[in-house]
Symmetry: C2
Subunit: 207 residues, 2 copies
């Protein structure tokens, strides 16, 4: 039976609640691994290397890029960020599902390198609802919220390149959608290829 | 929002328990429509036209075939059987999911006419388990069971042409797998195409 883990790429606009949905999902599936990104930026107070990020120098980062050591990487505001390939592939080989919570451009890079990755985009039930949630936080000024909304609009333009959409109307329901998507992926004929072969082989030797 | 129903094609070898799994699923989703086949064979005692089958003459059947009125059809032991296209499409248009419980050749015909159909094949956890179940019934002689097993072996050779595999280890779990597969299909980016367009459109007019 095919025991390889699933690579789950999880994206969605700021404020849509993807972290909360993932947290709810991970309560039920605590064996899922969460990929830790690498970055060249300095650690902030309280950040632990290997837990919040793998902190590395620019030269180490560049060397990893050259050796195809990232599933995706990008530069934001002068700092590099990336998903190290090694830990992800080790977990998948062990049969452990791995979640990457990354932005849309990174997700498309992953899909290119790993066509079997499951790309899941979290959407609000409506754009108006996203706006309500972002303004409802009350922690950011109007300009910041408007910037987030315009980023959200841009990101949602890429939603159709994803495999699945989770609609975060309520967290419980969204976590159930995620659960169903993962369960279904593990029952695709492609994923169960080896299992089908085994049963077929037994059938041939039996009949 | 896209409200079209899903066309669910459900197959599996005799004895695998697909009827029981479907029954369990339909308890939770009673609004799902179950397609009634047409046949040219005579009704057996107790069979009701339009409920167990649509009984029709050979000439009516042939006329429907000519008018592309079947999603799939075949002849067995001198009688014709087919899935009338009309009632299926009416239900799908109304947003009602439709289940076809048909054999593998019919399923492949449906996939050709309706590429969006969800093809689900029910498998036993092992071939040995299927053999145990068939012999365990105790209602058929050895030759009949062996014929069923050899049919099962042949059908399982086509399992890889299906989209999904439900493994019927326990009925409850198999019904949950089916539920997940249907839920996931309704969250594919393709199925939610219109919803994504709507949210994107709102985002554009807003930002």
């Amino acid at each position: 039976m095919n025991n390889k883990g699933l690579l789950i790429v999880f994206s969605g606009p700021s404020g849509v609640g993807k972290g909360t949905v993932l947290k709810e999902y991970l309560k039920k599936y605590p064996d899922t691994a969460f990929s830790v990104s690498a970055t060249t930026r300095s650690p902030r107070e309280g950040e632990v290397d290997g837990q919040h990020y793998y902190f590395m120098s620019r030269s180490d980062f560049d060397r990893l890029v050259e050796n195809d050591g990232f599933l995706e990487h990008a530069e934001f505001a002068g700092n590099c960020y990336g998903t190290p390939r090694g830990p992800v592939e080790e977990n998948l080989q062990k049969g452990i599902d791995v979640v990457l919570e990354i932005e849309v451009q990174g997700a498309l890079q992953v899909k290119e390198k790993c066509p079997d990755a499951l790309l899941i985009f979290v959407m609000p039930p409506s754009f108006e609802e996203l706006r309500r949630r972002l303004f409802g936080r009350g922690t950011e000024d109007e300009a910041t919220v408007n910037r987030r909304l315009s980023n959200a609009a841009r990101e949602m333009g890429i939603a159709k390149s994803y495999d699945y959409i989770v609609i975060n109307d309520s967290v419980d329901d969204a976590a159930l959608q995620l659960e169903s998507i993962v369960c279904a992926a593990k029952h695709s004929a492609k994923y169960l290829n080896e299992f089908i072969d085994e049963v077929e082989h037994d059938a041939e030797t039996c009949c």
